[in-house]
C-alpha cells in the first residue's frame, strides 16, 4: 500500500511537469493548428541554456529567467522563419516541418553541448527527502511539482484575464471572427510559439534537475503526445489532466509491470495505452468531435 502511494505521488509530481509541456503543445495546436513534433527538442534547448548559465554561477532562478527570455526569442524566431510561411498548407507538410525543426534543434544541441549526461552542480534542491505523513518525497520532485503548478496557474490566468490571453482564446475559437474584431492572428501565432517554448524550457529544466540532463530528456516531447491525445487535442484542462494521468500511469507500470515485462515497459506503456485508448475514444476526453461531411 505504501509502495502504491509512493508511486502515485511520484507519478503525480512528474505528471505536473508533463502537464506544463503539454500545455505548451496544446496552445500551439489550438491557436494555429500546428501539430508540433519538435516539443522535445524545445525542452532540450531551454534546459541546456539554463544549465549553462547555472554552471557559470548565475543563481538558479535568474538562470531560469534567462532561459525563459531566450525561449521567448527563439519561439518568435521559429514561428517567423519557418511556420509563418506554411499557413494553409496540408497537415503532413506542417508536421514534417516540425520534424525537420526537431532534427535541426537536436543536431545543434548535440553539436554545442555534446551527448554526455550533465547534472546541475551544485544541486539546486537539497537531496534530503521530506516526510509528509507516511510518505517520503524527494525535494526535487516536490519543488518541481510546485513550480509546474505555479506556472500552470500563471498561464491559465494569463489566458483568462489579460488582453493577449483573450486574443489567443478568440483566435483558437474562431480565427475568422477574431480577425474581424481586430485581433492580429500573426501576433497570436508568434505568442503561442513563444509561450510554448518557454513552457518547454521550464519543463526541461525541472526534469533535468530530477534525472540529470542529456539528450534523452527530449523523450519528454514524445511523452507529451499521449498526454494531449488522452485529454483531447484542443483542450487546455485536458492537457493538464492528461499529463498527470500519463505521469501516474508511467510510474505505476514501472513499479508493477516491470517484473513481468523486464526492460523498457516504462517508456512503452504510455504509447501502448494511447493506441488502445484511441480505439475506444478517438477524440480523447474533452476534444472536439468533428462531424465530417462530403
Amino acid at each position: 500500500m505504501e509502495l502504491f502511494l509512493m508511486t502515485l505521488t511520484t507519478g503525480i509530481m512528474v505528471g505536473g511537469i508533463y502537464a506544463l509541456v503539454a500545455l505548451g503543445w496544446v496552445l500551439i495546436y489550438k491557436c494555429s493548428g500546428v501539430l508540433n513534433l519538435a516539443m522535445g527538442e524545445m525542452t532540450l534547448i531551454g534546459a541546456y541554456v539554463s544549465l549553462s548559465f547555472y554552471s557559470m554561477g548565475v543563481p538558479f532562478l535568474l538562470a531560469l529567467a534567462i532561459s525563459l527570455i531566450i525561449g521567448f526569442v527563439l519561439g518568435i524566431l521559429t514561428e517567423r522563419i519557418f511556420l509563418d510561411k506554411l499557413i494553409g498548407e496540408p497537415v503532413l507538410t506542417v508536421i514534417m516541418v516540425t520534424v525537420g525543426l526537431s532534427f535541426f534543434f537536436k543536431g545543434t544541441v548535440e553539436f554545442i553541448w555534446g551527448t554526455d549526461t550533465r547534472v546541475f552542480t551544485p544541486p539546486v534542491f537539497s537531496i534530503e527527502p521530506i516526510h509528509i505523513g507516511p510518505l517520503i518525497v524527494g525535494q526535487v520532485y516536490l519543488w518541481s511539482f510546485v513550480a509546474a503548478i505555479v506556472l500552470l496557474i500563471v498561464f491559465v490566468c494569463f489566458f483568462k484575464y489579460t488582453r493577449w490571453g483573450l486574443a489567443m482564446q478568440a483566435t483558437a475559437d474562431d480565427e475568422m471572427a477574431a480577425l474581424s474584431v481586430g485581433v492580429s492572428a500573426r501576433y497570436v501565432y508568434a505568442a503561442a510559439w513563444a509561450i510554448a517554448f518557454m513552457a518547454a524550457g521550464v519543463g526541461g529544466t525541472l526534469l533535468g534537475n530530477i534525472n540529470g540532463l542529456n539528450i534523452s530528456v527530449s523523450y519528454l516531447g514524445l511523452l507529451v503526445l499521449p498526454a494531449v491525445v488522452l485529454g483531447g487535442l484542443n483542450s487546455v484542462p485536458g492537457a493538464i489532466v492528461g499529463g498527470i494521468i500519463i505521469g501516474v500511469l508511467q510510474n505505476l507500470c514501472g513499479t508493477y509491470l516491470d517484473r513481468y515485462f523486464p526492460g523498457a515497459v516504462k517508456e512503452i506503456a504510455p504509447f501502448a495505452f494511447m493506441a488502445i485508448f484511441l480505439l475506444f475514444k478517438p477524440y480523447g476526453l474533452w476534444g472536439w468531435e468533428r462531424i465530417e461531411r462530403v
Binding site: 516541418v97 520534424v99 525537420g100 537536436k106 543536431g107 504509447f271
Partner: protein, 366 residues
C-alpha cells in the same frame, strides 16, 4: 501532375497502346539507356565505395516505396515504417539462423530467397495489425498509432524479447556464406548491388502496376476524400488495410535485403530516426509519385555522402567536426526538410515532370 503530355503526333489506335508503359520510341530508348547504365556501366566502373553508396540508395528506395504508397497514394500518414523493415530483417535472420533447413536447400541457395518471401509476408501482416486503428482514427491520431508501432516493435518486442532468442546477446551476426541466392554467395558489394537492382526493379514494377489497378484507384480515392470514397462504394477499411499490407510487404523485402549488407543485425539499425528519414525522403522527392521515392532516395543519400566528403578535409584542422559529424548530418537533414517544405513543396518529382513536359511540348507549350 500525374499525366505527362505526349509530343504532338503520337496517336493511339488500340487500348493496348493507350495503356502501354513506354509509349514512344524516345521513351523506349531512354529506358534502354537506363538499363545499360544500371547493368553495364555502374557495376563495372564503380569502385567498392560507390557501389556501397548505390546499395544504400537502393535500400532507401525499397523502404521509401512503402511509405510512398501509404502517404502518397493512400493518404495514411505513417511515422513508424522502420518497424516493418526491422520485422522483415529479423524474420529473415531468424529463419536463416534457427530454421532447420534441409541440406539440399542450403546447397541450392534457397534458404535466403525463401526467408525474404517469408519476411515480406510477416512484415505485411505485422503492418496490418498496426493499420487496424486506421479503421477508426485518421490524421494526427493515426500518426500517433504508427509511432506507437515503432516504439512497441523495435524498442520493446525486438530489443527485449527477439534479441534474446538463441542467447546471442544484442546483435545477430550472420556467418559468412549463409546468405546465398542460388549458386551465388552474396559477399561483395557487387553482388549486393545486383540483388538490389533486381529487387528495386521488381518492387517498382509491381507497385506501379498495382497503382493502376482497381486497388490503386481505390487508394487514390481514399487519399483524396475518404468519405466520398465510401459513398462511392469503396470498402475503405479493406483497402486501407491492403495498403498497409503492401507497404509492410515491401518494407519486409527491404529489411530482409539489407541484412545481406550488414555484418550483424541489431535494433540500432532501425531507429525512429529512420522512419522519419523515409518520410523526409518522399517529401523531398515528391509525394504521390514513384519517381518521388527514387529521386528523394538518390538526393538524400548522395547529399549526405557529399556532406561527408566536404567535412573530411576540414577535419584535419577541426577534429570536432569529424567527431560530431552525426550531429551535423542530423541538423542538415532537418534543415533540408524545412527548406524543401517551404520553398519546394511539390518535391523533385514535380520539377522532373515539368522538364519532361517542357521538352515534349516544345516549342508550343500551351
Amino acid at each position: 501532375m500525374s499525366t505527362t503530355w505526349l509530343p504532338c503526333g503520337v496517336y493511339h489506335e488500340t487500348y493496348a497502346q493507350d495503356h502501354a508503359w513506354w509509349q514512344t520510341r524516345f521513351i523506349c530508348g531512354k529506358m534502354v539507356l537506363l538499363a545499360v547504365l544500371l547493368f553495364g556501366v555502374i557495376p563495372f566502373f564503380a569502385d567498392s565505395y560507390e557501389l556501397s553508396v548505390c546499395n544504400q540508395i537502393g535500400y532507401t528506395i525499397l523502404g521509401a516505396l512503402g511509405v510512398q504508397l501509404l502517404i502518397g497514394f493512400c493518404g495514411q500518414i505513417t511515422l513508424g515504417h522502420a518497424a516493418f523493415l526491422a520485422v522483415g530483417a529479423y524474420t529473415s535472420t531468424l529463419l536463416i539462423l534457427e530454421f532447420p533447413w534441409p541440406a539440399w536447400m542450403m546447397q541450392w541457395g534457397l534458404a535466403y530467397p525463401i526467408s525474404i518471401v517469408a519476411a515480406a509476408i510477416v512484415a505485411g501482416l505485422w503492418s496490418v495489425l498496426f493499420g487496424l486503428p486506421s479503421a477508426r482514427v485518421k490524421g494526427f491520431y493515426l500518426i500517433l498509432t504508427t509511432m506507437a508501432a515503432q516504439f512497441i516493435t523495435v524498442d520493446f518486442i525486438i530489443t527485449q524479447y527477439i534479441s534474446q532468442i538463441g542467447g546471442r546477446g544484442q546483435a545477430f551476426s550472420l556467418p559468412p556464406g549463409t546468405i546465398k541466392v542460388g549458386p551465388w554467395v552474396i559477399d561483395s558489394d557487387l553482388k549486393v548491388y545486383f540483388m538490389m537492382i533486381v529487387l528495386v526493379i521488381g518492387c517498382v514494377t509491381v507497385l506501379a502496376n498495382l497503382l493502376r489497378s482497381r486497388a490503386g484507384r481505390a487508394w487514390v480515392a481514399i487519399r483524396d476524400n475518404d468519405v466520398s470514397a465510401e459513398v462511392m462504394g469503396i470498402n475503405v477499411v479493406k483497402y486501407k488495410l491492403l495498403a498497409f499490407f503492401v507497404a509492410g510487404f515491401i518494407g519486409g523485402i527491404a529489411g530482409a535485403f539489407w541484412i545481406s549488407n550488414l555484418a550483424a543485425v541489431s535494433p540500432e539499425h532501425f531507429p525512429w530516426f529512420w522512419s522519419l528519414w523515409l518520410v523526409g525522403v518522399i517529401l523531398i522527392g515528391g509525394v504521390g509519385s514513384i519517381h518521388g521515392a527514387i529521386f528523394g532516395s538518390i538526393f538524400m543519400v548522395a547529399i549526405m555522402e557529399l556532406l561527408q566528403l566536404a567535412v573530411m578535409p576540414l577535419a584535419d584542422s577541426f577534429p570536432k567536426l569529424l567527431m560530431d559529424f552525426l550531429f551535423i548530418k542530423e541538423a542538415a537533414f532537418g534543415l533540408a526538410i524545412c527548406m524543401f517544405m517551404i520553398f519546394e513543396p511539390n518535391g523533385l518529382a514535380y520539377r522532373w515532370w515539368q522538364g519532361k513536359n517542357y521538352f515534349n511540348l516544345w516549342p508550343f507549350s500551351y
